[in-house]
Symmetry: C2
Subunit: 505 residues, 2 copies
C-alpha cells in the first residue's frame, strides 16, 4: 500500500527544525500504529508539495528515518515502513540484574566507598553555589582571571592557519611544540631537560596515576608527607600500596624519620610538594631539598616532586626545584597548566629520566592513547606568543596582594587560640583551630558564618577529625577574602569560647 | 658595589623581544663571572636611559631575573646579584642511577616490553609519512574531512558568549549539556538513557580502561572476540586478566563456544564490537545480538558493547545496538566522537546502569579528576547547532562511495587466492592472503609496492604471523584507495605465485 499523503503538522514558528518535526511526526504515527508495517510512504516530491516544504527537507527526514531503522528503501523505490525491533523503554528507576558491588574488584569497591563518604562530607554543589557563602575552599583559579581573550585568539589563529594539523592526532608523548616550550620554560627554574624527557598528561593528577601504575608494587611502600595533597591518597589505596606518612615540620617532612623509614622499609617512591605545599602552604629550604635528595640517592629511591605551584612564587627569592640539582636523575617532576591558566584545560606533564618517560608513555598509550592535540596546539602557541608570561605577571601581582590581604586580616582578627602558616606563594594557608572537628562539623559551623574552608582531616591518611583547616585564596578577590577571613575569625572566636584553654579570650 | 652601567648588546632587528635579550645578557654576565655575587645592578631608570629602552622593559627583565633566583631585591632598593644554586647541566646521554626495569612492577614492565615490540614492528613515523606510500593502515579520519570551519565557529561562539564558564571545571561525570545531547542522540539508536547514566571519557579507550579498573579481578577471566580491537589486549594484560578469545564467525563470535565458556569459567565481562568490527568489518545480526544478550543475562555477566562505529552506517538497514534491547541493564555501551569528528578531540563516553556509572565516575575522578570542559562545551554546542548531523551526512555520502570503490576494485583486481569481508559501514575490511606473514614481513613486502596495511597478527591474542591484514579506508580519498588496492593486488599476486596452492594463478 502506498500512502498518498501523511497527516503531519508542521509548526513554522517552532525553534525545532522542520526536518526534525517531520521525523518526529512520522515516528509517532508509526509507533502509534497509525501507519502499518510494509506501508510505502509518499515520495519525497509528493510530500514536499503537500507540506509546502522543500523536497530536500523531506529527503533528509526520510534518510534519517532509514538510518535509524524506521524505514527501508531501495534506490529509486518508495520508502517502506519496517518493524523496528522492540527497544527497552527508559525508566529512571530501572535496576540492573547485576550487583555491581559484588562483581567489582576489591580495590575499586574500596575506592568507591571512600568516594561516597567524601561526597557525603562535602557540601553539595547547591550549597557551594550559595552566593552568600564566601568560597575559601577551592584551589581552582578565579574565573575572572582566566585569559579568555588571548586563549581565544590563539585557538582562532591555529584553527585558521593550520586547523587540520591541530585537529589531527599527536604522538602519545604529546604535542612536540608544547613539550619544547615546557623544556625551555623549565630551564628558567634551573631544570635542564628536553622534549624527549617530557610526557604530556591530563593534568598532574594523571601524571600521578601513571607513576603509580608504573612504580606501585605489593612488596614496597610509598612515602608521602602528612598532611598531603588529598587526591593522592585514594589513588595509592586503589593501587594497594601501603602508605607511610612522614609528619610535616616547619621546613618540610621530617628527614630524620624519612631516613629511619628508608633504612627499614622497601619504598617505591617518596612524594613531596616542596613549594607552598598543599595543604600547609609550607616551602622547604634549599638545604632541606639537598638533604632529601641525598637520602633518596643513597637508598636509590625515586622522588616524585610535585611542582604544581612552581610558577606561583609571588615575591622574594625561593629555592629552585629538587629536580634542578638532580644529577643522578632520580626525580620525576610534575607540573600543570590547569591550576594557573584555567581548570577546564587539563594539561599537565611529567619530566624524568628518558627510560622512565618511555615506560610512562607506554602506560599512557594503553590507558587513553594520547592527549587531545587541539588544546595542546593552542596552548603551545599561547605560550610562544608570550601570552603565558603576560598572564603569569598579572597573576603574580594579583595574588601577591590577595596573600598580603589574607595574612594581614588574619593577624588583625584571628583569636590568639589559632595559628597559621605564612606562605610566600601559591593558594593555600593552613590554620590550626582551638579544637578538633570532623569535616561535617566544621562545614556546619562555618556555614553558619557563611564561609567555606576545606577540613584538615581530608589531608591525612586517617581521614578523621582534625584541628586544622585549609584556606584557599584561589577562587575569590581580595575584598571577599578580607570579608571571608573576618567571618572565619568570628567562627573561630566562638570555638575558642567553647574550649577550656586558658588562652581563649 | 653598585654598577653604573652594564655592557649589554641589544639587537633591535632581532625577533627576540628586548626584555628577553636583556635577561639573557645579564644571565650570561653573571654565569661568566663578569658580574660578581652581591653586586648591585644599575637602577631600572639608569639602565633604561643607557640602553635607550623603556624603563618598564628593564623593570620586567629585572623581575624575571628575580623570580628565577638570579637577583634579589627589597622594595625600593637596588637589585643585587645572588649566587644561584648549582644546577644539573643538561646531558642528553645522562643516565639515572635507578634501574627502572627493576623498580617497576611486573605488569607495567610486561606492558612496556609489548609496547617496544610493537614499536619495532610498526613502520616508523618517517616511513608512514613517505608521500609515495598509500596509507590504508590508520583508522583515524582523513584530515581533509575534519569540520574545521564549523568547529572553529562553535569555539569562537562559546568563548565570546560565556568563556569563563567554558574554561572552568565541570563535574567528574562530564559537561551536562554534552551528556544531555549524547542521551538524546542515543535515542536515535534505540537506546533510552539519561545524562545520569553517562560518563564522559578521554575517547573510548579511557572508557575501556576505567571498565577494566572496575571489573577485572584475579579470580575471573575476560572474554573477547578473536580477532579484536588491538588496543584492548595490552590493557587486559596490564590488569593481569586471563583472556579468553572466542573465534569470529561470519555472524560474530561463536555463541556455542561462548555458552560453553560461561558454563565452565567465571567471567568478568564479554567484550564485543557488533558493528563493522575492528578489524574484520563484520556486523552481527539482530538475532545474534539477542542470543548473546540472553546468554549473558543467564550467566549474569556484563557485556561491554563497543559502539565506536555506530554512526557510520552508510547504507541499508542495520540492527540496533544490543544496549537498545537491554532490559536487564547488563550492557556497558561505549561510543566516541574522536573517530568521526577529528582525532585531536579525544572525547568518548560510556553509558550503563546508574550504579555502574557512579563507580566508573569515582575511578575517573581518582585517575584524572575530569575531562577538559572547554572542548566538551564546544562539542555540545557544535552538536546542538546541527553541525554534527551535517558532518555525519557528508561523511556518509563520502564513505559510501569510498567503500563501494574499495570493494569494487578488490573484486576487479585481487587474485582468487584471497578473500575478504564486505562491510556495510565503518572503515575496515579484513583480507585473507594466500600465505601467513609476520608483521615485519608483511610490512616489508607491502612497502615494496608502496602501500601500507595493518598486519592481522596484531588483532589476535597471540600476536604472531597471520594470513590476514586489515585495510582501512579512513585516511585517504577514493582515488588513492583505488590505486592503493591495485598495488595491494600486485603484492598479493606475487604472494600467490610464491605459494603452492593449486588455486594460485
Amino acid at each position: 500500500m502506498i500512502l498518498k499523503s501523511l497527516m503531519i503538522k508542521i509548526d513554522r514558528a517552532s525553534r525545532i527544525p522542520i526536518k526534525d518535526q517531520i521525523v518526529e511526526e512520522i515516528k509517532n504515527l508509526i509507533n502509534q500504529g497509525l501507519i502499518k508495517t510494509d506501508t510505502a510512504l509518499p515520495s519525497s516530491r509528493v510530500l514536499a508539495v503537500k507540506l509546502g516544504v522543500s523536497r530536500y527537507t523531506v529527503y533528509q527526514a526520510y534518510e534519517e528515518l532509514q538510518v535509524y531503522g524506521h524505514l527501508k528503501s531501495r534506490p529509486g523505490s518508495y520508502n517502506v515502513v519496517q518493524k523496528r525491533k522492540k527497544e527497552a523503554p527508559f525508566d529512571p528507576e530501572r535496576k540492573s540484574i547485576i550487583s555491581w558491588e559484588k562483581v567489582c574488584n576489591e580495590s575499586s569497591e574500596r575506592l568507591f566507598a571512600g568516594y561516597l563518604k567524601n561526597l557525603a562530607d562535602i557540601p553539595t554543589r547547591s550549597q557551594q553555589k550559595d552566593p552568600t557563602v564566601i568560597n575559601l575552599t577551592e584551589m581552582q583559579l578565579d574565573p575572572s582571571l582566566f585569559p579568555v581573550e588571548n586563549f581565544s585568539r590563539c585557538l582562532r589563529h591555529i584553527l585558521s592557519e593550520n586547523g587540520q594539523t591541530a585537529m589531527d592526532f599527536c604522538s602519545p608523548e604529546g604535542n612536540e611544540a608544547l613539550r619544547d616550550y615546557i623544556a625551555q620554560r623549565l630551564g628558567l627554574h634551573g631544570i635542564s631537560t628536553s622534549q624527549d624527557e617530557i610526557l604530556i598528561t591530563y593534568g598532574s593528577q594523571q601524571a600521578l596515576d601513571l607513576i603509580m601504575r608504573l612504580l606501585c608494587r605489593s612488596d614496597k611502600k610509598v612515602v608521602i608527607e602528612s598532611p598531603t595533597y588529598y587526591n593522592i591518597i585514594p589513588l595509592l589505596q586503589f593501587y594497594n600500596s601501603s602508605i607511610l606518612g612522614i609528619p610535616m615540620r616547619h621546613d618540610g617532612m621530617d628527614l630524620g624519620q624519612l631516613e629511619r623509614v628508608l633504612n627499614e622499609e622497601a619504598v617505591s617512591f617518596v612524594y613531596t610538594i616542596p613549594n607552598f605545599q598543599n595543604p600547609t602552604g609550607l616551602t622547604t629550604s634549599h638545604n632541606h631539598r639537598e638533604k632529601l635528595l641525598n637520602i633518596c640517592i643513597k637508598h636509590r629511591v625515586p622522588i616524585v616532586e610535585d611542582g604544581f605551584d612552581e610558577e606561583m612564587k609571588y615575591s622574594g627569592i625561593l629555592p629552585l626545584p629538587i629536580k634542578s640539582i638532580d644529577e643522578k636523575n632520580i626525580v620525576l617532576y610534575l607540573g600543570t597548566f590547569s591550576k594557573i591558566l584555567f581548570p577546564g584545560l587539563r594539561i599537565g606533564w611529567v619530566t624524568a629520566d628518558k627510560d622512565c618517560i618511555r615506560r610512562l608513555t607506554a602506560l599512557k598509550r594503553t590507558s587513553d592513547l594520547r592527549c587531545g592535540n587541539l588544546t595542546q596546539t593552542a596552548l603551545a602557541y599561547f605560550c610562544q606568543q608570550g601570552y603565558y608570561d603576560l598572564h603569569l605577571r598579572r597573576l603574580h601581582r594579583i595574588f601577591r596582594n590577595r596573600l598580603e590581604v589574607a595574612l594581614q586580616t588574619m593577624k588583625d582578627h584571628f583569636p590568639k587560640t589559632t595559628s597559621w602558616t605564612r606562605p610566600k606563594g601559591g593558594y593555600s594557608i593552613w590554620v590550626r583551630m582551638p579544637k578538633k572537628m570532623s569535616p561535617i562539623q566544621l562545614h556546619e559551623h562555618m556555614s553558619r558564618y557563611k564561609v567555606g574552608v576545606s577540613p584538615g582531616g581530608y589531608y591525612f591518611l586517617q581521614q578523621s577529625e582534625s584541628e586544622y583547616f585549609r584556606l584557599s585564596i584561589a577562587r575569590v578577590g581580595a575584598e571577599e577574602i578580607r570579608e571571608g577571613i573576618k567571618r572565619l575569625a568570628c567562627a573561630l572566636r566562638e570555638l575558642s569560647l567553647e574550649t577550656d584553654l586558658p588562652s581563649s579570650s
